[in-house]
C-alpha cells in the first residue's frame, strides 16, 4: 500500500507540475507553428469530415471540397461567378446538330504520379463512370446516373459514346441534345484521375488520390484532418501559393470560430450568421460573403389533404413574412426567395414577386377551399442546421405562429436526420422544411430535381408535385440548346409553379466564411471548382 501511495503521489505530482507549468507558460503561440513559418501552411476549418476520396463516388460537399483541389475537371466555373471557364479542357465546341461536344485538352500536363494527362486518360475516366462493365466501375456512381440519366446500355442515358479524336482532343456524343451537359462537367464527380494509379490500386481510393490539380494528396486522418501539399509541377507557373493545404474538422461552429480567433486555423466555413457583425469589428479577421445558389423551402405535400388544394397552399404562403425570417434567423445574410431559383440564376423569372403577407386574403382562400376555421396538421422541421436553414426548429416555430393567424394549427415534428430524409422523401410529411444547394448554375439542377413529377420514391420532389405542363417544359428545356430559349421555358415553368405553390421557397442564404487577415486572394467558390490555387498567406 505504501509503495502504491508513493508511486501515485509521484505520478500525481508530475501531472500537477505539468498542469501548473502550462498555465504559467508564457508562449502564447505554438512553437511548432513558428518553426513552420518558412513553410506556408493554410489550415481550413470545416464542419464535417471527408467520406470518400473517390471523386466519382462522392455525394456530399466535404468530400468534394478536398477532391476538387487535387483532381481537376475539364471545365469549371470562374471563381465566385456563374461563368464557365476552362480547366483541363482548353476549349470546347458543341456541334451544329447539338449531338456532340468536342473538348480540346491542355497539353504537357502530368498527373501527380508522373503519367501523362491526355485524351486516353479522359476516355478512360469517362468510361469508368459510364460503362457498368468497365473493370474500375466499382460503386454506384449515383451523381453520374442522376445527371446523365443512366449508364451505358440504359435507354435513359443521354450519352451515346466517347471517342479520342487525337492525343489532345476528345468527343462526347449525345443521344439527344442535352443542354446542361457542359455545366454538369464542372462537378467534382467528373474529375479526371490518373488511370495508371487506378490500375495499381485496383480501383480503390482508400489512401490515395492522384489527379492533376494544384495540390497533391498526402494523408487523411479520419475525423481529424486531410493534408494536401503543393504540386511542384503544377502547369501554371507560380501556383499554388501555399506549400500545404490542410482541412481540419471542427464540428461546432462556435468552437471553429474560437480556433480561428486563436490562430490555430486560418480560414473557416460555416460562420454563424449571428457572429458576423461582431467578427467584422475584429481587425485581424476578414469575412467573405458569396452569392447564393441554394434555397431553403417549406414544402406542402400535394398528395395529402388538405394540401392537395392549391388554395390551401397559397393561403399559407400568404402568411409568411420572409424578410422577418431573414432578420430574425439569418441575421440579414439571405435574400427572400420568390421561386426556387436564386435571383443570380439566368433562368430566374424577374416578373414574379413573392406572395405578399395578406391574412384576410389567406383566410378567404382557406374558406373557399372548405376550411373556414382552419385545420390541424403537422409541420416537420429538419433536425440539423444547413446554410439555407440555420435554425430549423426556430424557423418552424415562427412559421407555426404565422399559420396560426388563419387557423392552421401545426404541430412541429422532428426526427433524427437520416430518418427525417427517409420519411420526407417518401412523402410522409404534410408540411416539411428542407432545402438544396445547387451543384451547378444550370437551372435544371434546381427545377428538374424538385418539380419534375416522378413515380419513384424516395424522391427530391418531396411535395409530390405533378403538373404535365411543367413536366413538358422541364423536359423540353433539357433538350433545347439555346440558352435564351431555355430561360424562357424555365420562366414559364416558374410562373405555373408559383401559382400551384407546391413549395414555398423561403430564402436563398448567402453563406459566410471568415479568414485571418493573413489570407490573401481568397474568393469563395459558389458552386464547385478549386478555390485555393491562388490563395496566399502573408505575414
Amino acid at each position: 500500500m505504501k509503495k502504491l501511495a508513493i508511486k501515485t503521489s509521484v505520478v500525481l505530482l508530475a501531472a500537477l507540475l505539468a498542469l501548473t507549468g502550462c498555465s504559467s507558460g508564457s508562449n502564447p503561440s505554438d512553437k511548432s507553428s513558428e518553426k513552420s513559418a518558412s513553410e506556408k501552411i493554410l489550415v481550413v476549418g470545416r464542419g464535417g469530415d471527408t467520406v470518400t476520396l473517390d471523386p466519382a463516388q462522392s455525394t456530399e460537399d466535404e468530400s468534394n471540397r478536398v477532391t476538387e483541389e487535387v483532381v481537376e475537371t475539364l471545365v469549371t466555373y470562374k471563381k465566385g461567378t456563374s461563368d464557365l471557364s476552362p480547366l483541363l479542357a482548353k476549349s470546347w465546341e458543341v456541334s451544329p446538330d447539338k449531338l456532340s461536344v468536342t473538348f480540346k485538352l491542355e497539353e504537357n500536363v502530368k498527373f501527380h504520379d508522373g503519367t501523362p494527362f491526355n485524351a486516353d486518360a479522359v476516355v478512360f475516366n469517362f468510361e469508368r463512370w459510364w460503362d457498368p462493365n468497365h473493370p474500375y466501375h466499382q460503386g454506384t456512381f449515383s451523381i453520374f446516373k442522376t445527371d446523365m440519366g443512366g449508364f451505358k446500355g440504359d435507354d435513359s442515358t443521354v450519352i451515346e459514346g466517347i471517342e479520342k479524336v487525337d492525343d489532345h482532343t476528345v468527343r462526347v456524343k449525345l443521344k439527344h441534345p442535352f443542354a446542361p451537359f457542359v455545366a454538369m462537367l464542372t462537378e467534382p464527380q467528373y474529375g479526371i484521375v490518373s488511370p495508371e494509379s487506378l490500375k495499381k490500386s485496383n480501383g480503390q481510393f482508400k489512401d490515395q488520390l492522384i489527379g492533376t490539380g494544384a495540390f497533391q494528396f498526402v494523408s487523411w486522418t479520419p475525423n481529424d484532418k486531410v493534408v494536401l501539399k503543393k504540386n511542384p509541377e503544377y502547369r501554371v507557373p507560380g501556383f499554388p501559393k501555399v506549400d500545404q493545404l490542410i482541412f481540419q474538422v471542427i464540428k461546432d461552429n462556435s468552437a471553429r470560430l474560437n480556433a480561428l480567433k486563436s490562430g490555430q486555423i486560418d480560414l473557416m466555413e460555416g460562420v454563424n450568421p449571428s457572429d458576423v457583425s461582431s467578427l467584422e469589428k475584429l481587425p485581424n479577421l476578414k469575412t467573405y460573403t458569396s452569392a447564393s445558389n441554394n434555397v431553403g423551402y417549406l414544402s406542402f405535400n400535394t398528395k395529402q389533404k388538405p394540401f392537395d388544394d392549391p388554395r390551401v397552399r397559397q393561403a399559407i404562403s400568404m402568411t409568411i413574412d420572409k424578410q422577418a425570417l431573414i432578420d430574425a434567423f439569418y441575421y440579414g445574410q439571405a435574400e427572400p426567395a420568390v421561386t426556387i431559383l436564386p435571383s443570380g440564376s439566368w433562368g430566374f423569372n424577374k416578373e414574379l414577386k413573392t406572395y405578399p403577407v395578406d391574412i384576410e386574403k389567406a383566410k378567404q382562400l382557406l374558406a373557399e377551399a372548405g376550411y373556414p376555421n382552419g385545420f390541424q396538421t403537422e409541420l416537420w422541421a429538419m433536425p440539423v442546421a444547413r446554410p439555407y436553414m440555420p435554425q430549423p426548429e426556430k424557423i418552424a416555430t415562427a412559421l407555426q405562429a404565422s399559420m396560426k393567424q388563419i387557423g392552421v394549427d401545426a404541430k412541429i415534428v422532428s426526427f433524427e436526420w437520416a430518418t427525417y430524409l427517409d420519411k420526407v422523401q417518401s412523402g410522409e410529411a404534410p408540411m416539411a422544411l428542407l432545402g438544396w444547394s445547387s451543384a451547378t448554375w444550370d437551372p435544371t439542377t434546381m427545377m428538374y430535381t424538385h418539380h419534375r413529377s416522378t413515380d419513384s420514391v424516395p424522391t427530391n420532389n418531396i411535395s409530390m408535385y405533378k403538373n404535365p405542363e411543367v413536366d413538358k417544359l422541364l423536359d423540353d428545356a433539357l433538350q433545347e440548346p439555346d440558352q435564351e430559349k431555355r430561360a424562357e421555358m424555365y420562366k414559364k415553368a416558374q410562373e405555373i409553379i408559383y401559382q400551384d405553390a407546391p413549395i414555398n421557397p423561403l430564402v436563398h442564404s448567402t453563406p459566410v466564411r471568415a479568414a485571418s487577415a493573413r489570407v490573401a486572394n481568397y474568393v469563395p467558390q459558389v458552386t464547385y471548382g478549386p478555390q485555393f490555387t491562388d490563395v496566399d498567406l502573408t505575414n
Binding site: 500500500m1 502504491l4 501511495a5 505520478v11 500525481l12 501531472a15 498542469l19 502550462c22 498555465s23 502564447p28 505554438d30 512553437k31 511548432s32 507553428s33 518553426k35 513552420s36 489550415v43 469530415d49 467520406v51 455525394t59 456530399e60 454506384t140 449515383s142 446516373k145 442522376t146 480503390q204 482508400k206 494523408s219 486522418t221 479520419p222 475525423n223 481529424d224 484532418k225 493534408v227 500545404q244 490542410i246 481540419q248 474538422v249 471542427i250 464540428k251 461546432d252 468552437a255 474560437n258 480556433a259 480567433k261 486563436s262 490555430q264 486555423i265 426526427f415 433524427e416 436526420w417 437520416a418 430518418t419 430524409l421 427517409d422 422523401q425 430535381t449 419513384s456 424516395p458 427530391n460
Partner: protein
C-alpha cells in the same frame, strides 16, 4: 489472499463476458435495424435515384434477411474480424484504433485531473466540515455536476485560449504538424520519435479538453470522497492515530483515505469506463478525433457495421475496466476476498 482465487475469479468474470457481449450484440443489431433510415440512402445522398440505392443495398448485403445479416456478423466477430465500414470500405479495427487511442489519452488526463482535484477537495471538505472550506467546494461540485459540458468547453476556450492565450483550443496537436503515429498515443509517439517539442505541444493540447471532460467526474469524486471520509473519520482507529500524536495530515491522508477509498474507486472505475466510451460533446467542441465522434458519425451514416462493432468493443472495455476495479478492491481492503 492467495493468488488462485483471484485467477479463478478473473477467469469466471471473463467467461461471463460471453453472454453479456452476445446480449449487447443482439440489442445493438435490433436497435439499428428498427430505427428508420437506410445506409445506402444516406451514403448516396439526396440526389440518388432508387435504382442506385438498391444496387448499393445489394453490394452492402443489406438486402439479405435480418437473421442472415446477424449470422454473418456474428461469424465474423467470432473469427476476430470486426468487419469493414459500409461508408469508407476500410477495416473497422484499423479505423477504430486511432480513435480509441485518442479517447484513452484524453480519458487518462481527464481522470488525473478529476482524481487529484476531486479527492483532495473531498478530503479537505470532510476534514473541515461545516465550515466555508467545506461549503464552497461542495457548492462548486454541485455546479460541476450540473454544468453543460459544451458551455464549459467554450468558456475554457474563451478564457484560456483567447483571453489569456495560454493554451491551444483545438485538436490533439497543432493542425500544421503531422505526428508520425506508431501507437496512436501522441504522448508516446512523440517521445518515441524523440520530439520533445511535439510532446509538450500534445500535453498542452490535452489540458483544456481534459479539464472540460474531467469536471463532472471530479465533482462526483469530490462528493463521494467527502461522504466516505466523514464516515471513516468517526472510527476508533482514527481517534487512536490522533491519540498517538500523529500529525493531522497523516491521520487524514494515511489512515483516513486508505479506508475511505473503496467507494471512490467504484466511482473512478465507472467514470473511466464511461469516458472511454467517448465523450461526443467534448470531442465536438475540441475537434478531438475520439471514439465518440467515430461512432456518432457512424450513426449519422447508418454505418451498421461500425455501430455494431464499435459498441461491442466499448462494452468489452467497460466490463474490463470494472473488472480491474473489482480486483483493486481487495488490494485496498484485504478483507474483501474473491471466491
Amino acid at each position: 489472499m492467495g493468488c488462485k482465487p483471484v485467477i479463478r475469479y478473473t477467469a469466471r468474470r471473463i467467461f461471463q463476458l460471453i453472454p453479456v457481449l452476445f446480449g449487447v450484440s443482439i440489442i445493438v443489431f435490433a436497435i439499428i435495424n428498427l430505427i428508420p433510415g437506410d445506409p445506402a440512402q444516406v451514403i448516396l445522398g439526396e440526389r440518388a435515384d432508387a435504382e442506385s440505392i438498391q444496387k448499393l443495398r445489394h453490394e452492402l448485403g443489406l438486402d439479405l434477411p435480418l437473421y442472415q445479416q446477424y449470422g454473418n456478423y456474428l461469424l465474423n466477430i467470432l473469427q476476430g474480424d470486426l468487419g469493414t465500414s459500409l461508408v469508407t470500405g476500410k477495416a473497422i479495427s484499423e479505423e477504430l484504433l486511432p480513435h480509441l487511442a485518442a479517447t484513452a489519452e484524453l480519458t487518462l488526463f481527464a481522470m488525473i485531473f478529476a482524481v487529484i482535484v476531486g479527492v483532495n477537495v473531498g478530503i479537505v471538505s470532510a476534514w473541515k466540515r461545516n465550515t466555508w472550506i467545506d461549503y464552497i467546494p461542495m457548492l462548486l461540485a454541485l455546479v460541476g455536476v450540473s454544468m453543460p459540458i459544451f458551455w464549459l468547453g467554450l468558456m475554457e476556450q474563451w478564457l484560456f485560449g483567447l483571453q489569456l492565450e495560454w493554451l491551444p483550443v483545438l485538436g490533439r496537436n497543432d493542425p500544421r504538424v503531422t505526428v508520425e503515429t506508431i501507437t496512436h498515443f501522441y504522448l508516446i509517439d512523440t517521445l518515441l520519435a524523440g520530439n520533445y517539442e511535439q510532446f509538450w505541444s500534445s500535453v498542452r493540447h490535452l489540458i483544456l479538453p481534459a479539464m472540460a471532460l474531467g469536471t463532472i467526474p471530479m465533482a462526483y469524486i469530490a462528493r463521494m470522497t467527502r461522504s466516505s471520509m466523514l464516515e471513516v473519520l468517526k472510527h476508533d482507529y482514527v481517534r487512536t492515530a490522533r491519540a498517538k500524536g500523529l500529525h493531522e495530515f497523516f491521520v487524514v491522508y494515511k489512515h483516513g483515505l486508505k479506508n475511505a477509498f473503496a467507494p471512490v474507486m467504484t466511482i473512478i472505475g465507472l467514470e473511466v469506463g464511461r469516458l472511454l466510451g467517448g465523450a461526443v460533446l467534448t470531442e465536438t467542441i475540441f475537434g478531438w478525433p475520439g471514439v465518440g465522434q467515430y461512432i456518432y458519425n457512424a450513426i449519422g451514416y447508418r454505418d451498421y457495421a461500425v455501430i455494431q462493432s464499435g459498441i461491442l468493443v466499448l462494452a468489452v472495455i467497460f466490463i474490463v475496466v470494472n473488472l480491474i476495479v473489482d480486483l483493486l478492491y481487495s488490494y485496498l481492503d484485504p478483507r474483501i476476498q474473491y471466491k
